[in-house]
Structure formats: C-alpha cells, structure tokens
C-alpha cells in the first residue's frame, strides 16, 4: 500500500490533530479535560470497533482492558518509580497478554454467548482487583504529590498525560485504518460475515480472532494508564465501569460499525451530548437513559450508523469514506 495515496487516512489524522491542538494552543485546562475525555472515548470506540465492527464479536466488557492497563501502570509508577511512558507501554502489553489468554477459549463462543462472557470477565476482574492487596484492594491506590515532581510538577504531568492521549488516539486510528485495508482485515470481515465459509476459504478463524482481540485490548489499556495517571487515584469501581463499555458500543453503533470514521464521529457526538446532558440541571440524571434510548433508535432505524448510512447513500462516499 502506498502511504501517500491514502488521502482519507491523512485527512482524518490531521482533523483529529487540529482539534487536539486547541487546548494546547489556548493553554486552557478546562478544554484539555474535555478533549482528554473525547480522545479517551475515541480510543475505546475505535478499539471495540476492531473486534466488533470488523470481526463481528460484540465485546460488552471491553472496559476490562482499560482497567487492567490503568492498574498495571499505576502500580509500576507508584511502587517501582517507573516513568509514565514505560509504565503505559507495559500496561498495554499486559492487557495484550491477558486478551490472548482469555481470547483463546472465549472467542470460540459465538453471538450472545461471547457478549455475556465478556461481561463476566470484566466483573470477575473487578472483584479480583478489589480483593488483591498489592493493588490496594477495594480502596485502590493513590499517588503522593512527589510522583508528579519527576515530570516537572503536577501541571506539567497533566499536560504530559494529555499529549500521550493524543498520540494513542492517532495511533488507534492509523491502526484501525491499516487493519481494515489489509489482508488480515479482509479475513476478519469474512469471519464477521460467515465464519464457516471463511474457514472453507482458507482463513484460520482462531488466529485471526485472537489477534484482532489482542489489538483491540492494547489501546484501551494505554488510555487507562494515562487516564488514571492524570487522576492520581485508581479504584476498582471506576476502573472497570461496565456502563462505560456500553457507552463505547453506543458510539460505535452511532457512528457506524465496521468503518474507520464511524467510531471517531460516534465518540465525538456522544461525548458532546453526554457532557451537555450532565451539566444540564434537567437532564443530568438521565444521560444513561438517553444513551440507551439512542442505542435503541439506531439499532431499530439506522443500523449502519451515521457513516454507514452515508456510505449506503452514494457510491462516491462509499469510496471516499473508510
């Protein structure tokens, strides 16, 4: 593949980068917090899309890898004094390893059984961590202020976490694009359409699925590491929050599953909507209700999501939008 002849990829990365620069240019901490959350959701949704949109396996409990990455990195930074960058990468690798070990048996399940199993994994992991003393048990862990001094103080440390999130977001989008355009990605989509046929055509389903699952576990773990570093505290509840997983699914469905652009659009629209609802006095308690309603409407009426719908509308858009 000629990299320079991929205008869609470059345009998408550029748009994300420009938006991500807004807080940096303005130096506004409030905007930074907003965008950190949008990018976090973008990473989560794009990752879920690789296993759900490309491969056809709905991972309900995908947030488990966000929590694992967060906990591993937090532990390494606090206990071993490791630098954020290395701790984050190790958090990602641990998540990949766990995803491979879990994926090998669980990805044999099909349809609803797989979805249920992923919820079980997340709940099991949360309970395990809540009773695992080295990770602080149910109280979790928190940083002393000195941790941040290695990064030039708390203020700089928070910006560092943000830069990290921007890099992870760009990386996940590029990965999602290359997977989709590769032979491997074609294999995944064949499995999504009909696994038995895919196998007869020469595709090794187990290897493809486990690889896709491992990739989709890597990026949320990086995001988790950066997010909890920024928070300075990590607890089992917020780290393995099932409804954040489900919000990720809503974003994928809203934007368009199986497309590169869909999860990005979905994450942006959903996060903006969510923060509007949360800060609005009338709706603040209803944001999950509205998320559920949104999901219902999409599944009933626009199954393909925004980007999928646009792709169906015109052959030109189908060629341009990935």
């Amino acid at each position: 593949m000629n990299l320079w002849k991929q205008p869609f990829l470059w345009a998408t990365l550029l748009v994300i980068l420009v938006f991500a620069l807004i807080p940096i240019v303005t130096g506004s901490a409030a905007l930074r917090e907003d965008w950190l959350l949008i990018l976090l959701y973008l990473v989560l949704a794009s990752s879920i899309n690789i296993i759900m949109g490309y491969t056809g396996y709905v991972s309900f409990g995908h947030i488990v890898y966000f929590g694992i990455g967060g906990y591993v990195a937090f532990f390494l930074i606090q206990q071993a004094g490791m630098h954020l960058v290395f701790a984050t990468l190790i958090g990602g690798l641990v998540a990949v390893l766990i995803a491979v070990l879990i994926g090998m048996p669980v990805l044999r399940l099909r349809g609803a059984y797989f979805a249920l199993a992923t919820i079980g994994i997340n709940e099991a992991m949360r309970n395990f961590v809540a009773n695992f003393e080295p990770f602080g048990g149910s109280v979790g862990m928190f940083f002393n202020y000195e941790v941040y001094t290695a990064y030039g103080g708390a203020k700089d440390a928070l910006w560092l976490a943000y830069y990290g999130m921007v890099v992870v977001a760009l990386a996940v989008v590029a990965t999602s694009f290359f997977v989709k355009k590769s032979k491997f990605g074609l294999g995944l989509m064949a499995i999504r359409e009909d696994q038995d046929v895919a196998q007869v055509l020469g595709i090794d389903p187990a290897r493809h699925k486990v690889t896709a699952y491992a990739i989709s576990a890597f990026f949320p773990a990086l995001a988790g590491a950066l997010f909890f570093f920024k928070n300075g505290v990590i607890e089992p509840g917020p780290a393995f929050l099932l409804h954040r997983s489900i919000e990720g699914l809503v974003m994928v469905m809203l934007g368009g599953y199986g497309t590169v652009l869909g999860p990005i659009v979905g994450a942006f629209v959903y996060e903006r909507l969510r923060s509007f609802l949360i800060t609005n006095p009338t709706f603040s308690s209803f944001h999950l209700f509205i998320a559920g309603l949104l999901l219902l409407l999409i599944v009933l009426f626009v199954t393909a999501g925004v980007v999928g719908w646009l792709r169906q509308k015109s052959p030109t858009l189908r060629r341009v939008l990935e």
Partner: protein, 255 residues
C-alpha cells in the same frame, strides 16, 4: 509439479455417524487428476455429508481421506484450502456485506497461492470476468440474484486456484439457459487442469459432463462407473424408484 501418483483424492472406508444415524457407511473411491466425477444419489443419501467429511467441516468417524498423497483425515478446512481443495455450498453463502470483488479476493488471498491483497485483487478480476460477473464487481454480494450468487460461489472457489474443486449442486435453482452456461464454465475449469467432484440432481447434466459417476444410497456406495454403466445398474434404478417421477426421468435420460 509432478507426483508419482495420478490419484489426487482417495477416500478409504469413510464413515460418519451422528448419534444413532449412520450417515456414511464405509464409502471408498478414488479420483484421478483431471477427472470430473459425478456424485449422485437420492435426497438424504449422504452426498453433502461426504463433502463435509472430505473438506474438514467435521472429521469422519472412521476411515481416511488421502489428498495429494497425504493423509488429511480430520484436518480443519482452512488447511485443506491452502493445500488446494476448494468447494462451493449447496445453499449459497455469500459474504453479504462485502462487495462481489471482495468476496472473490478472499478466496484468492487465503487459497493455495497465499497471495497478497494486490495480487489477489487481480486474480479476482480475472475470475470474475471468467464467470461473467465482471460488471457486478462493486455490488454488495447480498444483493445478487440466485443465479449470480451461484456464480459467485464458484468464482470464490476458483480464485483459490484449487487443484480439487468440490461442487455442491451448482446447477440447482438455475433455469435451462443458466444451466447450459454453467456447464460450459465447468468444462472450461476442467480444461485448466482442475479435478472436479460434483454433486448434482440434474441427471442429464451430470451424465453429460462427468467422466465417472459414484452413486450413494443411505450413506453407502451402491455403484460406480461410467455414466452409461451406472444408469443401467439395477441397484441404482431401484434406489431411485423410491421416487417414481425421478426414476422415470432417470430411465428416460439414460436411453
């Protein structure tokens, strides 16, 4: 490539049991390179089950399958695909949300030649032109009509550049005109050196195009030979007499 044996596939005493049902009962036969072998038998005789057992969809309960001189009994189908065995399905199974071209590219990518995406795309275009689907290449496969889906099944299998092709009722559901077109395609495939086993219910077609015919009934092989010999075989006629209409048709066509 040459090997010392001219037998590409050897089926040795293959049985398949589903619970109390013996779907295949010690079936044995061989097929030589370049042959077209017709596999016939009444409904429920075990023809598709035999394909599944050969193709690794499920392992045979007993017996062996030797493909290109290698014992492949119980190997998963993706490994057989890479060794050069391709098949079509009786009930068409397009990868609906992928385009026609993508469907065929999958076959080329993961088949015997293990091509890169670019090379596979070129093979897909060639094969699509060959089966007459070139102008539908960008359509979603799910939107094709039945005859086109049958051709797509065939194209996907051919794109793998197989040495052995298992065709499961590619003619069913086609009108006479489409059947003639498909038979032409099948003959051309054989001319390219591909060995073919075809399950077929259309007697005139299978008798016309096959070099040899194997007849199954209740999971057991009851006859094997040239189309003429098989259609004069008493046991075969009796097997089909279960359905008088088919039997009459069969007898007429054998004349």
């Amino acid at each position: 490539m040459t090997t010392d044996t001219s037998v590409i596939l050897d089926i040795q005493d293959v049985s398949k049991r589903f619970g109390g049902l013996l779907a295949l009962d010690r079936v044995s036969f061989g097929i030589e390179k370049g042959e077209i072998l017709g596999l016939i038998g009444p409904n429920g005789a075990g023809k598709t089950t035999l394909f599944n057992a050969i193709n690794g969809v499920y392992p045979p309960t007993e017996g062996h399958v030797i493909f290109q001189g290698q014992d492949v009994t119980g190997l998963p189908s993706f490994k057989l695909a890479r060794m050069g065995m391709a098949r079509t399905h009786q009930v068409v199974r397009p990868l609906s949300e992928l385009s026609v071209r993508e469907n065929v590219t999958v076959g080329a990518c993961f088949g015997r030649e293990n091509l890169s995406l670019d090379q596979a795309g070129r093979v897909a275009d060639e094969v699509l032109a060959f089966v007459g689907l070139a102008e539908r290449r960008e359509m979603l496969a799910g939107k094709l009509n039945v005859a086109q889906k049958k051709r797509l099944e065939l194209a996907r299998a051919l794109a793998a550049r197989p040495t052995l092709l298992l065709l499961d009722e590619v003619l069913a559901g086609l009108n006479p005109h489409e059947v003639a077109g498909m038979l032409d395609v099948i003959r051309q495939i054989r001319e390219q050196g591909v060995t073919i086993i075809m399950i077929e219910h259309l007697m005139h077609a299978v008798m016309n195009v096959s070099d040899r015919v194997v007849v199954l009934n209740y999971g057991a092989k009851i006859a094997e030979g040239t189309p003429t010999a098989v259609s004069n075989n008493q046991q075969v006629i009796e097997a089909y007499l279960g359905d008088p209409k088919v039997a009459r048709q069969f007898l007429e066509e054998a004349e």
